[in-house]
């Protein structure tokens, strides 16, 4: 693992996060933190016809957690809820373009966890063990 993870693109998303802030009337919101470092991510979603119509995130924490959450919000606009349920670690790694390594992977996955918590919350379904163990 190296500071290659701090590629321009990640620092750019950290400095200028896309989709940062609040939605006027979200259909669902979820929030979670990484107990190891205290990083926090909140996501707010607007859902239409089973797809993500709009999305915002807020949070505090390291560059990896904030940039990956921001990248995720851009990537999932228009995606179906089933598609989001099927997303895993490889999807986030592809977005980041680099594997942050074992000590930092949880930072990268916090956004995905909160996104999935939002979807399960919206559907009124129990959160799977797999989602709980992302971070």
């Amino acid at each position: 693992m190296s500071s290659e993870i701090y590629k321009d693109i990640i620092l750019d998303y950290y400095r200028n996060p896309r989709n940062f802030g609040d939605l006027p009337e979200p259909d669902v919101r979820a929030k979670d933190s990484n107990p190891l470092c205290g990083d926090i991510i909140e996501m707010q979603l607007k859902i239409k016809d089973g797809r993500v119509d709009d999305i915002r995130f807020k949070g505090k924490g390291c560059a990896i957690s904030q940039a990956s959450a921001s990248m995720l919000t851009e990537a999932v606009k228009g995606k179906t809820l089933d598609e989001i349920k099927a997303m895993g670690k490889p999807y986030v790694l592809e977005l980041l373009g680099i594997d942050p390594g074992p000590t930092r992977i949880k930072c990268a996955l916090l956004g995905l966890k909160v996104l999935k918590l939002s979807v399960y919350g919206y559907l009124g379904q129990a959160v799977t063990e797999e989602v709980k163990q992302l971070v």
């Binding site: 693992m1 190296s2 500071s3 701090y6 505090k60 390291c62 990896i64 000590t103 930072c107």
Partner: protein, 414 residues
Amino acid sequence: MVEKVTTINVSKLREDFPVLKRLVNGKPLIYFDNAATSQKPESVIETTDRYYREYNANIHRGIHKLAEEATLAHEEAREKIAKFIHAKHTEEIIFTRNATEAINLVAYSWGRANVGKGDKIVLTIMEHHSNTVPWQLLAQEKGATVEYVKIDNDGMLRLEEVHEIIDEKTKIVCVTQASNVLGTINPVKEIGKVAHRYGAMFLVDAAQSVPHMRVDVRDIDCDFFAFSGHKMLGPTGIGVLHGKSEHLRRMPPFLGGGEMIREVHTTGSLWKDIPYKYEAGTPNIVGAIGLGAAVDYLSKIGMENVYEQEREIAKYAIGRMSEVKDLTLYGPRDIAQRVGVLSFNLGDIHAHDLASILDEDGIAIRSGHHCAQPLMEFLNVPAMSRASFYIYNTREEVDVFINALEKARKLFAR
């Protein structure tokens, strides 16, 4: 002013630590995470290895040769540790897993027998979770309250608060001798006097002090004194509780089981005398013996020299760090008031990002809340990076560290 010249030959001493020869990410390891755990010298590694190769046996009850040798080595380690912290009696040294377990022993054994509803437990805001959570659990169970002595802007305890908070209701005062975040050395002897004036017990968390300075439990006059072996060149899984024998004799046992009993009947049991009363089950024999070897190593150098050497490095590091733009250093400015634990933040770079960037250059630092969340909350800082030194660290390593900080600053300034 004449500066005392350290007598430690650091480059020679470094040869005693095999891990320091290691490359990390192609760079020589720079180990600045000593407040978390220290590296181990060859003598400690050899001593533990020899136990398993030559005289591995269970202690105390064996009649055979190996059991005799193992028992002797285990009890010799206890004597070495007693001398090292200037205990009055060897039997005041109780082996535990770590400082956390030592503090829990006091909270469970002494605490449950002596703390009641409306009583007060006094801590400081800079305590490690190991010296906070056991007391919160005790207070919850007994309906007691926990109060915290705060710090000033320089990271020093507010001594006037010590006098305000400790009162007749106070049953125990628990204070760290050196902060694992701020590096602050607390005036434990003075605080202990205040506790005793009100008839309260006084516990010192010495996890960050025993490895780095000369300590004297009789001079401090504390009732309990807890520390870990692995932060002072010893193995993990071994820690020490020192308690005044008059308390230890009166307190009920902590864990029940083998090794700690004199007689067991269906109607009840009789305990062994101290220290064995508090050492149920087969103990960490190799850990204790290894800690004995660590104490030998440190004693040979001399704790005054250890302290001077680290102070020298910390002073140099503080000077160099003050040249780094946007760097915030926490804790006392006065080098005489602190150990070699330097917590800091660099601009708005998150501590975890900084640790990752430094790791690329083979530099090991710690980042996060350092198991001191009440302190982080009090300072309103979510996370800090921490560089902490030991006898084997050098100025050259500090220079590499400073360059890496500059690199990180530039990377994030883009």
